[in-house]
């Protein structure tokens, strides 16, 4: 069976090469959105196309767009699952604003995405998904949007995907359900034709994935080539495109998602520190993938603990930290709210602990599958008492690796809980990553306290970083008690003394502020050291701001982009740096939280650009504000 399909595909590729030489429009980047019902396999289709693009040397960025409900009613808007891919021969910083190509497997997928297609863009529709039932479920009633002028501004490619898939697999012996499951391969094959892509990667993938189910394997391969062939034999003229490899830094790359990057960053830190990794958590969207990823790597001495609730998640991590493990908890908004009391305990105990907040739309349950940056003030200020905790934020999916690693380093060096902020956008988004070598990662030194003969052990005696010793149970001679009640300087004994309390409050704050001596200073990502306008970002707005600033500079606008990764404490030179620009614009996916901190600390009239729609900024939105400020 396996051999029977290899020959035609080989022949097909030869033909493709021939055609490629004949006609092709060379473009430098394209944004494709795959959209369909949750069961249509759009995530897989998108991932396959992405991996192929990566193998061919394109730069890229992706973002999946899941429905909130697991099994939302079929055919409805709530059930639409999407995957957006932006790839090109130029540098790519975001999954893109408006798509050039929309693949709509049904009417609901079209309705959900119609306003996000570029004028003149291409819509590839599966017309089987536009029957009366699908139109009704999508809320179109009796009106078919393909026929009432709604899509006149676009280049519409109509395909009978379901019918052609069934025809391709006629006589395969598979049931209708199984046959219909292969229809995403038809679309994928067509797109490979449209963009002159080799199908090798996907063929290999299908062969491996369905190794033990030869009938399913062959069906998928057959439908994939059917889609490709359809492109070739289709009589209407459709443009084909060619996108060359990007000029990106030479090296070996892999694809990386934000949540996965956090998990791998934590493992890397634990390995470099020589510690076991303990992850105590409770499942929550969009943070659960960190747990899933970590639970697959038990051979790295990783212990994952799915606790009974969020509080037990962080508390189990505090127990693990007391015992000398690299302890981490992760969650999203509502879960972080539940963990706040325990964060206060961790900062009083002065034990290393990493808290990952994969932010989502809030408040309360909010928008669980959507992105937002609205937990910043909670991270910095949201605990009872004077309770400083270092806060850092990742900028891109692969940056999640470095910032997770950095969170661990700071936690251990300074014996403190550290909050790492990411969000749903970069957590689920992916980008190529030139991964580092383990040997090149910075050292993380762990010095567990040891008993010194004749010396009284002082659990709260501080070193030059104002950090206290990590004295773990099992160490003879270091028996001591710690707790959440205010403690006496050095001895750690309970103390209600007024002056001591004020001293200790200041000490804990000084310790966190001291971190500024051990983190990089801020410098422009794009632009100049002085200028008219600075766009200051933090977190996942990185890609959109960078694209916008690059475009603005091409238009001759004097604008610089700088990005804050360290939010508490800020980089030491931030105040001086901000004074080098006439105006400072701060785009945030919230009502203005970083800007409050900047205005408060540096007393500058920064300008806010806010968006709270559960959606990331488009580069265009930021560009247009840059332009209006530069007039």
């Amino acid at each position: 069976m396996a051999e029977s399909h290899e020959i035609p595909i080989f022949a097909l590729q030869l033909r493709a090469l021939f055609i490629m030489a004949q006609q092709q429009e060379v473009i430098d980047n394209v944004i494709i959105k795959f959209a369909g019902d949750s069961g249509d396999g759009m995530q897989l289709t998108g991932t396959q196309f992405t991996n192929t693009a990566a193998m061919l040397g394109n730069d890229l960025s992706t973002f999946p767009d899941f429905p909130a409900e697991i099994r939302a009613p079929q055919g409805t808007l709530a059930g639409v699952s999407g995957f957006q891919l932006h790839f090109g021969s130029v540098e790519i910083f975001t999954p893109g604003d408006f798509c050039d190509v929309l693949v709509a497997m049904n009417a609901a997928a079209l309705k959900a995405n119609l306003r996000n297609i570029r004028k003149g863009g291409t819509i590839i529709v599966n017309i089987d998904g536009f029957d009366a039932k699908n139109l009704r479920l999508a809320g179109y009633g009796d009106v078919n949007p393909l026929e009432n002028g709604s899509v006149d501004n676009f280049n519409v490619v109509k395909m009978d995907v379901t019918k052609m898939t069934r025809a391709a697999l006629d006589g395969s012996g598979l049931g209708v359900k199984e046959i219909d499951r292969a229809k995403n391969m038809f679309v994928l094959g067509y797109l490979y034709w449209m963009y002159n892509r080799s199908m090798d990667h996907t063929i290999k993938f299908i062969q491996e994935k369905f190794d033990k189910k030869p009938d399913i394997r062959d069906a998928n391969l057959k439908v994939l080539s059917a889609g490709y062939n359809f492109g070739e034999t289709r009589e209407e003229a459709t443009s084909r495109f060619s996108i060359g490899p990007a000029k990106i830094a030479p090296g070996t790359y892999r694809n990386m998602m934000g949540n996965q990057a956090v998990a791998i960053g934590l493992i890397a830190a634990a390995q470099k520190a020589g510690l076991q990794l303990f992850y105590g958590t409770y499942p929550i969207t969009p943070a659960s993938d960190i747990l899933h990823e970590l639970s697959r790597h038990k051979n790295f001495n990783v212990k994952t603990f799915q606790a009974e609730d969020e509080i037990a998640g962080i508390c189990s991590a505090i127990g693990a930290a007391f015992g000398g493990a690299l302890a981490v908890t992760g969650s999203s908004g509502p879960g972080i709210a539940l963990k706040t009391e325990a964060m206060g305990l961790a900062l009083m105990l002065e034990l290393p602990l990493v808290i990952v907040n994969v932010q989502r739309g809030g408040p309360s349950t909010g928008l669980p599958t959507k992105t937002e940056q609205s937990d910043l003030l909670q991270a910095v200020y949201g605990r009872n008492g004077e309770s400083p905790i270092p806060v850092i934020a990742a900028a891109t999916p692969s940056d999640c690796f470095y910032m997770a690693y950095e969170a661990c380093r700071l936690a251990i060096d300074f014996m403190t809980p550290v909050m790492l902020l990411t969000d749903g956008y970069i957590a689920n988004g992916a980008e190529p990553w030139m991964f580092p070598k383990a040997a090149d990662l910075p050292e993380i030194k762990v010095n567990f306290a040891k008993y010194v003969e004749g010396e009284k052990f002082l659990p709260y005696k501080r070193n030059e970083k104002l950090s206290r010793p990590w004295a773990i149970p099992g160490t003879k001679g270091l028996e001591h008690r710690i707790g959440g009640i205010e403690k006496q300087h050095e001895t750690g004994n309970i103390s209600y003394e007024a002056a001591n309390h004020e001293f200790m409050v200041a000490m804990r704050e000084d310790k966190v502020e001291k971190i500024a001596d051990y983190i990089p200073e801020i410098k422009p990502e794009v632009g100049t050291d002085k200028g008219k306008l600075l766009v200051l970002g933090w977190g996942s707005t990185y890609g959109a701001i960078k694209s916008a600033v690059l475009q603005a500079r091409e238009k001759g606008i004097d604008v610089t982009f700088a990005h804050i990764r360290y939010i508490r404490p800020f980089p030491k030179n931030l105040g001086e740096f901000l004074k080098n620009y006439d105006q400072v614009l701060i785009p945030e996916m919230n009502r203005g939280q970083l800007i409050k901190m900047i205005r408060d600390k540096y007393l500058i009239p920064a300008i806010a650009l806010n968006k709270v729609q559960g959606l990331p900024f488009s580069a265009e939105e930021i560009l247009s504000r840059i332009e209006s400020l530069s007039k």
Binding site: F300, C315, A325, A327, E341, P473, G474, R481
Partner: protein, 344 residues
């Protein structure tokens, strides 16, 4: 955990330099004394002992034990201990909690700790009142309890801690009291010997806010009639001269008098491995002051023991199994992932 080569230490060496701050006359003093007496006899190295507590009067306990210790936040000692045990299985962990800390604010963690069966000891000091917040009713206070927060009497139905823990599939469930040092010492030893989560409810008198709550079980005049000391393999007898016994009539426990014709052969022989009977004993829970027709004495001792694999060992077995299968983790391989491409 048992370490015969561990350096010996005395009860005195378990006393810290901190002044004990419980109210004079508090039952906690006795429990502290019994713990300090028993622990040096267990053969555990002192540096491997950790006391973890939450918030409440009982939770001050770790400050008075010259071991490793953590006085954490309200209700969460159980969760903290879980993480510590998962990462440091060789430690001997003792949790000190109360009826508020362990059954109210931390009730959730208590049941989950027990079902997971970490190998550690939970000492729940039950005084049926909130002491540290100065006298509100607790989840174990009897219905109708008049306190500062319930001037017309509490309308809450109380927990039966033993029944709750059996329901959570605890593998060691016992009850003792502050005023019976010998019994408490014996139970603490057995709790430590059990491999799994050992739950010990300790009746503890709060002489300031709930004085005499357990008087009928502790006073000479009533103790023998109102308490039933269970020993596995022995008949359930009580009374001034052990003249009373418990007989099972179907599933119904009945009090019989051996001096009035009942035979010792008819008595219920306690079997601490019998889950069903442990459930019946847990329900010997009527209010002794109410003196109902079917009044039964309150059982003390071990209700139930079960051998079940402990959480931390199952967790480690998974790590070992994956390591055996894939080899110890190679960080470079992890960083590289499955699919890569090279740009030259």
């Amino acid at each position: 955990m048992e370490n015969t080569t561990a350096e010996k230490f005395t009860a005195k060496e378990l006393v810290t330099d901190q002044e004990v701050r419980w109210c004079p006359g508090c039952g906690d003093y006795s429990i502290l004394k019994q713990a300090q007496t028993v622990i040096p006899e267990l053969g555990i190295a002192r540096e491997n002992i950790v006391f973890i507590s939450g918030i409440g009067c009982s939770s001050r306990f770790p400050y008075y034990m010259e071991t490793f210790g953590m006085h954490s936040i309200h209700g969460r000692a159980t969760a903290i201990a879980s993480g510590l045990k998962a990462t440091r299985p060789e430690l001997s962990i003792w949790l000190v909690t109360g009826d508020g800390d362990g059954l109210s604010i931390g009730g959730n963690h208590t049941i989950h700790l027990l079902r997971r069966n970490f190998n550690l000891n939970v000492l729940l000091f039950n005084n049926e009142i909130y002491g540290l917040t100065k006298g509100q009713y607790s989840p174990t206070s009897e219905e109708g309890k008049v306190t500062k927060s319930t001037p017309m009497g509490s309308v809450d139905h109380p927990f039966n801690p033993i029944a709750l823990c059996l329901g959570a599939d605890a593998t060691f469930v016992a009850r003792s009291m502050d005023r019976d040092p010998k019994h408490l010492q014996a139970i603490l030893k057995r709790a430590n010997d059990h491999k799994g989560a050992s739950f010990v409810e300790i009746y503890q008198n709060c002489n300031v806010f709930n004085d005499g709550a357990f008087e009928v079980f502790t006073e000479k005049s009533s103790k023998k009639k109102e308490t039933l000391f269970m020993e596995s393999g022995k008949p359930l007898v009580f009374g001034d001269n052990n003249e009373l016994g418990i007989k099972l009539d179907g599933f119904t426990p009945v009090v019989v008098n051996l001096t009035e014709g009942a035979s010792e052969n008819d008595l219920w022989i306690h079997d601490d491995r019998d889950r069903v009977k442990a459930g019946i004993l847990a329900r010997f829970f009527d209010n002794p002051r109410a003196m109902s027709e079917h009044h039964l004495p309150r059982p003390f001792g071990v209700f139930y023991v079960e051998d079940r694999p402990v959480y931390e060992e199952k967790m480690i077995a998974q790590l070992e199994s994956m390591t055996a299968k894939r080899g110890a983790g190679d960080l470079d391989a992890l960083l590289r992932g499955r699919e890569t491409w090279t740009i030259s």
